[in-house]
Symmetry: C2
Subunit: 223 residues, 2 copies
């Protein structure tokens, strides 16, 4: 019998990597989709490609999105990435409606593939203030998907939604995720070392520490 | 006082043209967005550009989307466009999740523009079986937009939703739409003449006839 197909949003970060392994563990035939949308660096997409190869996905689609509609974020523009760990509310690294756009394109692809299951690694615990990482967003998108298409019924799987970063590390270790093939840092140096100071590095380092595992990523030495 | 901004989805078809004029009539400052997604021809986008210029919109963004995720539609692939006017259910010209993708990108742009109003020319009366032209789709997208973003509250305006094609023609005439600058045909000839036989041409011709106006579009002569 053929496995049901799942479309997995794969950024190359640790959360989407764990998501991909989770979809595999649930027996889905894997279709990974990544986006090139004017990110500051390509290290995340290189990790996505390595992860897709490691799990022998059926297909890995890297979708080119003109970055113009996403202007105004520190992830895509020349706005400095904060390094002080402070800040309340929505951070400057928020990219407008990003997960809405990504899920919409994943949904379009799913419909052509006759896949009814979409996986996204959003996380509401350590979500750093992004509105499109909340449970209400995931369920609103699932409702939309089921009226927007002729396929379905669709399920939006967000298996990390209620996990802490430490839980995500533990789940990843259990599923055999090779965390060397994942990228988190918003602002690496030119040699591809993680800064260790941006919000994404902090969350990652705290997650590994709390889970009791060593983070295999390479960081800039700190004084 | 500055006018509020609206993002208008502008395909270059007659419905989106009427929508653009409607947004103008409501006093919005206009931002038009169009998509290049592997359509069979560029006549619609040429009309979109002409309409945007005619109304002196603040900005007209033509967004390039790789067509790959939209495979499998007669509007983007080498599948013949039906000419017999028959068919039930969802037609082969349906493009998977198209309006979801378009509205998502429009929403991202709206968020960067601090615009809270989006206009889309979907129509549930003559909607030819497209799931993403129904009232349930529009309200599901509005609900999504309001949990997916940090801006808002957003309103998705679909002023043509409950109008017949004849009503749309009448409204367009009232608003001063130049219908020569609108394109409907799915399958024009190389000289840019409309076929007069595809579902889009039929709807358009019937709409003009029922409204009692002459359609200024140029059609292939029929035997």
């Amino acid at each position: 019998m053929l496995s049901a197909r799942a479309v997995v949003l794969l950024s190359g970060g640790m959360d989407s990597a764990v998501c991909l392994y989770q979809a595999k563990a649930q027996g889905f035939s894997l279709y990974a989709i990544s986006f090139r949308y004017g990110q500051r660096h390509s290290l995340e997409l290189e990790c996505a490609t390595a992860l897709a190869a490691a799990l022998a996905v059926q297909r890995h689609l890297i979708f080119d999105l003109s970055a113009e509609a996403f202007a105004g974020s520190a992830l895509t523009d020349a706005i400095p990435v904060p390094k002080d760990g402070s800040g309340v509310g929505v951070p400057v690294t928020y990219v407008p409606a990003r997960n809405t756009v990504f899920l919409s394109l994943a949904l379009a692809w799913a419909e052509t593939l006759a896949a009814r299951d979409l996986f996204i690694g959003v996380n509401a615990v350590d979500f750093s203030g992004y509105p499109d990482c909340r449970p209400a967003f995931v369920s609103a998108f699932e409702s939309l998907a089921n009226v927007a298409t002729q396929g379905g019924p669709y399920r939006i799987h967000a298996p990390l939604l209620h996990l802490s970063k430490a839980d995500i590390v533990r789940l990843g270790v259990e599923l055999g995720v090779d965390f060397r093939r994942t990228w988190s840092c918003y602002d690496p140096d030119r040699q591809g070392l993680a800064c260790g100071a941006c919000a994404a590095c902090r969350l990652r380092l705290e997650g590994f520490a709390a889970a009791g595992y060593a983070d295999p990523a390479s960081y800039l030495p700190h004084p």
